[in-house]
């Protein structure tokens, strides 16, 4: 899992942190496109539904079910 490699993370600003999510599958961080309702993790390929606290702050809501 990426969480283990992430032992020396770079310092991130609050803005960077808010704009990123952490994949529930591999725990890798990534930045989804602004306003997207879902996104694929660039590290493991898992697809996630997204939820936006506001225009700049995003969280994973649950798995994206591909049709």
């Amino acid at each position: 899992m990426l969480g283990e490699e992430d032992t020396q993370p770079k310092e991130r600003s609050r803005e960077e942190r808010d704009a990123e999510v952490r994949c529930l599958g591999c725990l890798g961080h990534f930045r989804p496109p602004s306003g997207a309702d879902h996104a694929d993790c660039p590290h493991c390929g898992a697809s996630w539904r997204l939820t936006w606290l506001d225009a700049h702050s995003v969280k994973i809501r649950g798995p994206w079910k591909k049709s």
Binding site: G3, Q8, L53, G62
Partner: protein
């Protein structure tokens, strides 16, 4: 100074009230709130006291920082011998009661005996009256508070009360204030009901003299800014604790259909975002900037048009995944019912989920359930069972006795399907993939529980430097391993112990757990607590002294439990945690069970770190060091 609040010992049998000073030496050693309550419970109860008899004492308190310039300093703590477990009964409640109690001149109430008739306590600026409550008996939680505001002609009074469930001695009845604030766990509402005590009402106009007011104000502002800068706070502001559900269910951490799965398929209807359709805003407890509590109006069903508050993550599980229901409306209705009637949402949901698994397996039938079809996912049946438990009607009367007693009545091997520890049911979390969280629920002093010692941040697989910052020598020395994989057994005993101390300190100070290291590693803990205490009260306690006070109080809880029959066997997971692998979830959560030998090893390590012997009993050396092996019990 800010710490002028008194201890009142109220005997409902002979209607006497004795008011005492709280020595500063005791404050320093036990702080206040849950910490000092543990000391009072140990000393004011005799071994073997009937939890529902007059010899049990019920203690109500505010924390050392209650009502002062500290973030969310309005927490109230209630303690007694639990009628659910027979061990420590302990529960924490938000809202506005605790500061009002302190403004009225009291920090701790010890209530013993039993009133001859239904009564309530009226605590008003240093005076305590025992008043007739016959006209309130039978009223629900909301009606009771409204009636007392009217009777006392003051809408600013703050009330703790029980509902019909507490009156009927449902063994997991709650003590309530406001629309949803609940001292939910361990059945303290039943203790209050057994004393014929319907309510405690407080009103105070006293001031609290803050030791260093300008510095305390500035420091509190900086702490609030730090809390609000976390992403977790922003998320809580929008969705409350309900936000947790989407992620945990996606991974496979959510107990479903009692214990048949660890993930509710197609459970999107329970996600927090659905609250946007019913929410009318958010509310908060005293002194809190986060405002995590939904306010909502039910839109559909038998309770359409009803105003309510909440629900929390616990209710999404209790009346959602655990009972196999996917309709948020069921969660909203049941959340309203348990708050109205005064019952623990988690224990209620667990009892119904357990009965549903028994029903699905044919262990019980329609003949047992009053003809109610208790198949998983039957929304109407769940709502009906909540009503029946609160009223002790039919099969509900059996479920109202809590897990162990209900299984004793049902028999037929039904005990094997309970998800309980020490007689208290668990959150809807599934800890099979997470050994640290499993150890936490197994060893918690009040039974299976997620807010007595859960190292919640363990599931994030945080970077090691972050773990070092949180756990290493903060403030107590620790030289052992720290491992950032949540599936590891290594180093987890210390994380559980550390959080035990942290949560005990939080409960003793009377602040909110969401404002400490619970779901984020970037929130305050011992160093900040020390500063808050000094600036507000003038008490100079180092972070290590606060840690020691927490240790002292936790050890007393352990001693109380041992006095009431606790053994190592009580620090054990339900058998299915060891024998049945998780059937669902992401790879990190699927196919997981707890390794028995490694769990026992972790338990040994945990005992050793505590300076408890192999049976889980605190050693004489520890008691001597903490100064609780020799202390006279009549200090207060």
């Amino acid at each position: 100074m800010a710490l002028n609040g008194k201890l009142a010992v109220i005997d409902l049998s002979d209607r006497s009230v004795s008011i005492k000073e709280i020595p500063m030496s005791v404050r320093k050693r036990f702080l206040g709130g849950r910490g000092l309550d543990a000391y009072l419970l140990y000393n004011y109860t005799l071994p073997g006291s009937d939890p529902l008899g007059p010899s049990n004492v019920m203690i109500v308190s505010c924390g050392l920082l209650g009502g002062l310039l500290a973030s969310s300093s309005g927490r109230c703590h209630i303690m007694a011998r639990s009628p659910l477990t027979g061990f420590v009964g302990s529960s924490n409640i938000g809202g506005y009661f605790a500061p009002e109690l302190r403004f009225a001149g009291f920090d701790h109430l010890v209530i013993r005996g039993r009133a001859a008739i239904p009564s309530y306590l009226w605590i008003n600026d240093g005076r305590i009256e025992i008043r007739d409550a016959a006209h309130l008996w039978g009223k629900d939680v909301f009606e009771t508070q409204a009636a007392l505001e009217q009777e006392l002609t003051d809408r600013a009074v703050q009330t703790l009360c029980i509902g019909p469930a507490g009156e009927k001695l449902v063994r997991f009845a709650t003590v309530m204030t406001g629309f949803k604030n609940a001292a939910g766990r361990t059945g303290l509402g039943a203790v209050m009901g057994s004393k014929n005590l319907k309510a405690i009402v407080a009103r105070g106009s006293g001031s609290l003299d803050i030791a260093h007011p300008e510095a305390a104000l500035e420091y509190n502002r900086s702490i609030n800014e730090r809390i609000l800068a976390t992403k977790i706070a922003g998320t809580m502001q929008k969705w409350g604790t309900m936000f947790i559900y989407g992620g945990t269910n996606a991974i496979g951490f959510v107990r479903t259909n009692n214990f048949l799965s660890n993930q509710l398929e197609d459970g999107e209807g329970l996600e927090a975002e659905n609250m946007e359709d019913v929410s009318v805003g958010h509310g908060a407890c005293f002194g809190c900037q986060v405002h995590c509590r939904h306010r909502y109006v039910i839109k559909e069903g038998a309770y359409a048009g009803t105003y309510a508050e909440g629900p929390e993550y616990s209710s999404q599980g209790a009346f959602g995944s655990m009972v196999g229901c996917r309709d948020l409306n069921t969660v909203l209705a049941c959340n309203h019912l348990v708050n109205r009637d005064g019952m623990d949402t988690l224990e209620t949901g667990n009892m119904i989920a357990w009965a549903m698994e028994l029903f699905e397996k044919g262990i019980i039938t329609l003949a047992d359930t009053d003809g109610i079809d208790l198949r998983f996912g039957n929304d109407e049946a769940v709502i009906e069972m909540v009503r029946r438990i609160a009223g002790r009607v039919g099969f509900g009367h059996i479920l109202a006795e809590g897990p162990l007693r209900a299984a004793g009545v049902v028999g037929r091997g039904s005990e094997d399907y309970l998800i309980q520890i020490k007689g208290m049911s668990n959150l809807h979390s599934d800890e099979r993939p997470t050994p640290a969280l499993a150890l936490g629920i197994a060893t918690s002093s009040r039974g299976a529980d997620h807010i007595r010692s859960r190292p919640g941040i363990d599931v994030y697989n945080l970077p090691l430097p972050t773990l070092e910052r949180v756990y290493r020598d903060n403030p107590a020395p620790y030289a052992g391993p720290l491992v950032n994989r949540f599936d590891s057994y290594e180093g987890k005993a210390w994380m559980v112990l550390w959080q035990e101390h942290n949560y005990m300190a939080v409960d003793a100070l009377g602040v909110c757990k969401f404002h400490t290291i619970f779901m984020s590693p970037n929130l305050p803990s011992f160093t900040e607590f020390s500063r808050m205490v000094e600036l507000n009260t003038g008490l100079c306690l180092t972070p290590l002294q606060i840690w020691d006070a927490a240790n002292r109080s936790y050890t007393l809880e352990r001693m109380f439990n041992i006095r009431e029959g606790l053994t190592r066997a009580h620090d054990m997971l339900p058998e299915r945690y060891f024998t049945v692998p998780t059937p669902a979830g992401l790879p990190m959560a699927k196919g997981k069970s707890i390794d028995r030998d490694r769990f026992e090893g972790m338990l040994d390590e945990y005992y050793g770190l505590h300076e408890w012997d192999a049976s889980g009993t605190p050693t004489p050396q520890l008691l001597e060091r903490l100064g609780i092996g020799w202390e006279p019990t009549d200090v207060l």
